[in-house]
Amino acid sequence: MNNRIREFRARHDLTQDDLARKVGVRRETIVFLEKNKYNPSLKLAHDIARTFGVTIEEIFIFNEE
């Protein structure tokens, strides 16, 4: 699964720390997400999407393989 968190974060002028605080996780978790080293829970994906005011599908891109 890929994601566009870095792109949306830059668009909203948020640091990793800011986003982490808004969704209630550690900054390290945002780092792992942006490096595609972690697939978030549905709740975290929902919280991130809501923070950016978009749907989950716009941020997280599911690959079939």
Binding site: D17, E28, L44
Partner: protein, 132 residues
């Protein structure tokens, strides 16, 4: 915060006990004692690192644990348990082939379990959890 302070206290207690044992056994040290003391130092370092991470997160106002850190610990524990089973089988095989007391074999096994946990934690953090 509380668990971070407990981790520091336990680490320092272990370090103090290890130093008392190591420096209290006389000047003649065998290789096993030196290696054991070295491994204990590494594990105390790991405990202090764990405590530092928790305290610094609390200091920054971040949650001390979140879903990623919990998953990393869960996966690390599962891997370490599985690998430790094979390590104990190896220890059983080893016990008749080396001149070590039962206490030394058990101590080496327990230290090995801690080292296995530490190594698994590093590998899992480096690999990430995206393949799950």
């Amino acid at each position: 915060m509380k668990r971070g302070l407990i981790a520091i206290a336990v680490s320092l207690l272990v370090l103090g006990s290890a130093a008392f044992w190591f420096f209290g056994t006389g000047d003649h040290k065998i290789g096993f004692e030196i290696v054991s003391f070295g491994v204990i130092i590494v594990l105390v370092g790991f405990g202090l690192l764990f405590a530092y991470r928790r305290l610094s997160a609390a200091h920054r106002g971040e949650p001390v644990e979140d879903e990623l850190s919990k998953k990393i610990i869960q996966k690390t524990a599962a891997w370490a348990y599985y690998i430790s089973l094979y390590m104990w089988v190896f220890m059983i095989w080893l016990k008749d082939r080396v001149a070590l007391d039962t206490e030394q074999i058990l101590g080496a096994g327990i230290l090995s379990m801690a080292v296995i946990f530490f190594v698994c934690w590093i590998i899992i953090r480096a690999r990430g959890l995206s393949h799950e």
